[in-house]
Amino acid sequence: MGSGRLTRIAAVAANTFRESVRERVFYNLLVFAMLMILSGLLLARLSIRQHEKIIKDVGLASIDVFGLVIALFMGVSLVSKEIERRSLFPLLAKPLRREEFYLGKFAGLALTLATNVAAMTAGLLLTLWATGATPDLRLLQAVFPLVLGHLLVVALALFFSTLSSPTIAAVATLCLVVAGRLSDVVRNARTVLPDAPAWLVEAVYYALPNFRNFDFKDRVAYGEAIPAAALAWVTLYAAVYVGAVLAGGVLAFRRRELH
């Protein structure tokens, strides 16, 4: 990829990040901060080990949910809003290719998510420290895979939003996220539907994005160390899946007529 391409993708990404800041996407951090303060105050009477576990659970679950909501709703509106408002028309007349615009949008939202999650993680560590618990940096072993999962949600939301309306794209993405989080149910579908062909169940199981792969929250909250190999594998899984979905989205976006 040439430096011109990278410069243009970076320009779109930087502008997307600036849009997030100016459109007050980061206001969710206030809600997160309140959650952390309330948790700290309410759990102060419990023993140190109990309240440390609960604050970690609440904190990691909040990071997961807030990240998912931002990824989903910003993801579906990111490109579709530009098409609907025609704000991309003057840009695409410049030396900006459609795939550069698309990837720039993805990168900008990825940066928004990463910044948001970094702020929430810092808030979680600060809460642990303020309530007398040890700020455990091993929490990052749970946070990092969560961010990978959010990036996959963004890629899926972008993909669906280039094919359909933002509402349909949001529903389709949410369905995949729910199905992906219940992937074990899919794998064991033959216990409920014994006539279902085994190959079909296996195919659906492997085709669905397995969001359980990104969930190390419980293990980390219990103080378990996550092996580096497991983190490397989940990173590879995310890279391949996100790459494939982005490639599909770019193809769909390049073919789309912009009325």
């Binding site: 600036r18 849009e19 100016r22 025609r86 840009l91 007349a93 410049k94 009325h259």
Partner: protein
């Protein structure tokens, strides 16, 4: 060097309409057009005649069903010419969370311009378009006319050789229109090619070296205005005052008369002008002005549209 800034050959486009898009409606029907370097070219037509569709195809926003085009000598599919053109879409929506300066800086980055050049160009263009004092306001606080002027500024950030403007006067007040007219004249003076679509025919008459007239996706006529319009005087327009209405009825050579407040505007046959002027003086009135009336572009356009079909047909296609 190729003499044409823009060459269009056999460009056709239909839109799918109806349930499941099973019907198609032609919007462009084999358009052939050539725009020379350095000229101001007006692309005229009523709403729905295919002007915007043509520009969208040229900018790669829509794919043509058939036909081809070359921009600044390069094939339409080549990315090379995009560094050398500027484009203003119709009713531009610009990011309202940015200021005008930030928006121009962003578009300059897409051309790979260095920061110092971006800052200088943005400052110059905002000054040229009368937006210096609003440069640091968010675009959501801009009026429609101000947004249009920022849209024109972004089309010029790369100092393009060819500028394509879709309805550049849309939403502008008289001062804004004057500024943009001067800007187009200045661009021509600097050797740039300007291609603009409009249905405001007076702008085209003032600015264009050549025009193309489009109706329902078909080209009616291309040429210089003096080739298209009749140079013969249709009649004389005489503005008079102090003459009773009854006296005007008896004047020979008066084709029509229109009351303009206390005055009368008379349409007079050229050969009867002397008699009418004399008669007005005899009646104790005053001749305030005498002007020859020639066929305007608007007259021509209206006659062509009506002559070659109904008004409904003129508006039938969608832009």
């Amino acid at each position: 060097m190729n003499d044409a800034a823009l060459e269009i050959q056999g460009l056709a486009k239909s839109f799918r309409v109806g349930f499941l898009g099973r019907k198609t409606r032609p919007v462009l029907r084999g358009l052939d057009l050539s725009v020379r370097r350095g000229e101001v070219f007006g692309y005229l037509g009523p709403n729905g005649s295919g002007k915007t569709t043509t520009l969208k195809i040229l900018m790669g926003l829509l794919r043509p069903d058939r036909g081809s085009a070359r921009v600044l000598g390069e094939p339409l599919e080549s990315p090379a010419w995009r560094h050398r053109i500027g484009f203003l879409p119709e009713h531009p929506y610009l990011y309202d969370y940015l200021t005008a300066s930030e928006y121009l800086d962003y578009t300059g980055r897409l051309f790979g311009l260095p920061a110092a050049v971006r800052a200088e160009r943005a400052r110059d263009l905002l000054g040229l378009l009368g937006l210096t004092r609003s440069a640091s306001l968010p675009l959501r606080r801009f009026s429609k006319g101000m947004t249009q002027r920022v849209g024109i500024a972004q089309a010029l950030m790369n100092d393009p050789e060819l500028v394509l403007l879709d309805e550049p006067m849309s939403g502008l007040d008289p001062i804004g229109r004057h500024v943009v007219r001067d800007l187009i004249v200045d661009l021509k003076g600097r050797g740039k090619t300007v291609f603009f679509s409009t249905h405001i025919l007076s702008d085209a008459e003032t600015l264009c070296d050549r025009v193309a007239l489009l109706r329902s996706g078909e080209l009616l006529r291309v040429g210089r205005l003096d080739e298209i319009l009749s140079v013969d005087v249709a009649h004389m327009e005489v503005l008079v005052s102090g003459v009773p209405a009854g006296a005007l009825e008896r004047l020979p050579g008066v084709l029509r008369r229109h009351a303009v407040g206390e005055r009368w505007r008379l349409e007079v046959e050229e050969r009867g002008l002397g008699a009418v002027v004399g008669a007005v003086g005899t009646q104790g009135g005053h001749v305030l002005s005498v002007q020859p009336a020639r066929q305007s572009l608007e007259d021509y356009f209206f006659n062509e549209v009506v002559a070659s079909g109904s008004l409904d047909q003129a508006w039938e296609a969608g832009d």
